[in-house]
């Protein structure tokens, strides 16, 4: 039974913008969401790379130099860690969204995929293939 009177007397707490600072679990959630920020930086690097490649060899060389600038390397290191943290959370969530096999098995399989892809890319782009 809805009761119009009670609406006025009940105390309605409002959620502050800083709710996520209040508990470690929420901080980790925010961290997970924030992994896209360094990712975004790396994507912008790639876009810049694509552009450079289309402009010819000279521009491409300058992109390679840009990528070796210390602050860029540092940010990409951050992007790399972010990708690993994202992978960890993503792989743990995935079996709960699609329970296809025992969760532990699915997690191992996903990490394996990441390693194989990484190895392939490194061999190919590192010039060993």
């Amino acid at each position: 039974m809805p009761d119009p009177k009670s609406a006025s007397t009940a105390y309605k707490p409002v959620m502050s913008r800083h709710w996520w600072l209040q508990h470690r679990y929420f901080q980790l959630y925010m961290l997970r969401e924030a992994t896209v920020l360094p990712l975004l930086f790396f994507i912008i690097c790639l876009l810049y790379g694509l552009f450079s490649l289309s402009q010819g060899e000279v521009q491409w060389q300058s992109w390679l130099t840009f990528m070796a600038t210390p602050w860029v390397v540092l940010l990409n290191l951050l992007a790399f860690s972010a990708s690993l943290y994202h992978a960890k959370t993503f792989f743990e969530l995935f079996p709960r969204v699609m329970p296809l096999a025992p969760a532990a098995l699915m997690i191992v399989a996903q990490w394996l995929a990441t390693f194989i892809v990484a190895a392939g890319l490194i061999l190919l782009l590192g010039g060993w293939l």
Binding site: H23, Y29, V97
Partner: protein, 236 residues
């Protein structure tokens, strides 16, 4: 052993907002937070709280304990050697002391048509194998305590979000081999306040006292809703 606990008090006829008040209780090894609250109620009969079964099955005694939603009867004072602060469930309107307005929760539950829909008339039981039962059994263990709503920031930000337990209940029936009502339940889940309001924070499942894993139910609901979306594009 004596123990000091703080309880959030709010009397709508007098106060403009809740305030913490401290009390002394006697705590033995098996003293639950609910026991402690009932001791306080003996000292101060004006304290209001909900409880009944004191065995973690009726779902009435949910409160925030040091900021985390928990069942008072299944949480023990011994596990809080430091401070122990008890306040009403978060994200709900506080009616009085530890009692919150549960009616939105109930409305959200009913919104998903949580009952078996099956047109067939028969006096015989359905067959259902243990494997078919296992598909939804975990989701049928929800005691409607509402802890997951207090844990979910998305519900806190958007009270129209039908929320983890309601979606879990919808999934419980959608996954039941005896049910044919998925089509009438999906519109609720498909809406922006249905499964799509969830960002897989996942705290709902952390706090669930019955290991129902509502986060899994909600996010499996996203898969179901997405396929429903695709199907709807091909059917006029």
């Amino acid at each position: 052993m004596n123990k000091t606990i703080s309880i959030s008090r709010y009397n709508p006829e007098q106060d403009s907002q809740p305030q913490l008040q401290t009390y002394q209780v006697v705590s033995e090894h098996s003293t639950s937070v609910l026991d402690a609250l009932l001791q306080v109620q003996q000292q101060d009969p004006s304290l209001s709280l909900r409880w009944s079964c004191r065995m973690a099955i009726c779902g009435s005694c949910g409160v925030m304990i040091n900021g985390i939603p928990k069942l008072g009867c299944k949480t023990f004072v011994r596990d809080y050697p430091e401070q122990l602060v008890i306040s009403p469930l978060a994200h709900f309107a506080v009616e009085k002391d530890l009692i919150v307005d549960m009616s939105p929760f109930l409305q959200h539950l009913s919104a998903v048509k949580p009952y078996l829909i099956n047109a067939e008339k028969s006096l015989q039981p359905h067959k259902q194998t243990p494997a078919q039962l296992a598909k939804y059994q975990q989701f049928a263990n929800c005691i409607n305590c509402g802890l997951c709503y207090s844990a979910c920031p998305q519900f806190g930000l958007n009270p129209e979000f039908i929320g983890p337990a309601a979606i879990t209940l919808a999934q419980r029936y959608n996954l039941d081999s005896r049910d044919q009502g998925k089509a009438v339940r999906m519109p609720q889940l498909n809406s922006k306040n249905g499964v799509w309001a969830c960002t897989f924070v996942g705290f709902c499942s952390e706090v669930c006292p019955k290991k129902v894993d509502p986060a899994a139910a909600v996010n499996q609901g996203k898969v179901a809703s997405a396929s429903d979306f695709i199907i709807s594009m091909f059917t006029p």
